[in-house]
């Protein structure tokens, strides 16, 4: 947290408290008793997410990214289901080495999580700048798909992508 950022930091905290409280209110269905668990949970969530990251998030890119992920998820689920029910020869799995270009920590975490929801790929390990991707079918263009996902994620973190 910056030294001169007193006021913005407090308003930022207020926004986060309100957002988490709204989330809990929806999940708890407005029952008063649920706050016995909710209030400590919100405090814990605030504490665990206390780290500050430099560089903003491009919220305008979020709807496009969400639409892209929804499509990937439907295709990924359908493909995994077909291979699970189909003959064994559809399965040609293996590990693929992918050199990450994303540098920011948040961008990389999102990359790891989204890759596992994309058709045929599962992020198995991160070693330095290398993401080990487990693929269900090595006959498909695994690296090209990961590169496309990387470019999509870079639109969400424009400042980190440039660095």
């Amino acid at each position: 947290m910056g030294v001169a950022a007193g006021a913005p930091a407090w308003s930022g905290l207020a926004v986060r408290v309100l957002a988490l409280a709204a989330l809990w209110a929806v999940m708890g269905g407005g029952s008063l008793g649920s706050w016995v668990v909710g209030a400590p949970a919100i405090a814990l969530a605030l504490y665990l997410s206390r780290r500050r990251f430099s560089g903003g998030v491009c919220w305008r890119a979020l709807p496009g990214f969400a639409g892209f992920m929804l499509r990937e998820m439907v295709l990924g689920g359908a493909q995994a289901a077909l291979i699970a029910l189909g003959p064994r020869r559809l399965l040609r799995p293996g590990l693929v080495r992918f050199d990450l270009r994303l540098r920011g920590e948040r961008a990389r975490v999102l990359m790891i999580d989204c890759t596992s929801l994309t058709p045929g790929t599962l992020s198995a390990d991160l070693e330095g700048d290398v993401l080990w991707v487990h693929a269900l079918d090595l006959g498909r263009p695994v690296s090209a798909g990961c590169r496309r996902m990387e470019r999509r994620i870079a639109t969400l973190f424009p400042e980190e992508a440039k660095a």
């Binding site: 399965l91 596992s116 929801l117 058709p119 198995a124």
Partner: protein, 98 residues
């Protein structure tokens, strides 16, 4: 009308859960099983949530179901990575087709 549509979505979701479970039983190793669990089950839950939202026809319940889906999706993909990473670092070799 919405009820029939909701039923179709829920049935499709259940079918994906069945397929995901089939993958869990039929796939040859830990990594391939994780594929089935994360992807088929996430989509299955999403479809069941859409079906339930259509059935109740209440925006607040739909919002709640959407949040549940997002939270389960996030935990399932994070867990899949952590399990795969632990296995890889433990030296578990992926199964390969002959």
């Amino acid at each position: 009308m919405f009820d029939a549509l909701g039923l179709i979505f829920a049935a499709a979701g259940v079918a994906l859960f069945v397929a995901g479970t089939a993958g869990l039983l039929r796939f040859p190793d830990l990594y391939t099983r994780l594929h089935a669990l994360t992807k088929a089950d996430t989509l299955g839950l999403g479809l069941v949530c859409v079906g339930a939202a259509l059935h109740w026809g209440d925006p607040l319940i739909a919002l709640k179901l959407g949040l549940i889906w997002l939270l389960v999706m996030a935990s399932s993909t994070v867990l899949a990575h952590l399990i795969a990473r632990a296995a890889r670092r433990d030296g578990v070799r992926p199964w390969e087709a002959e």
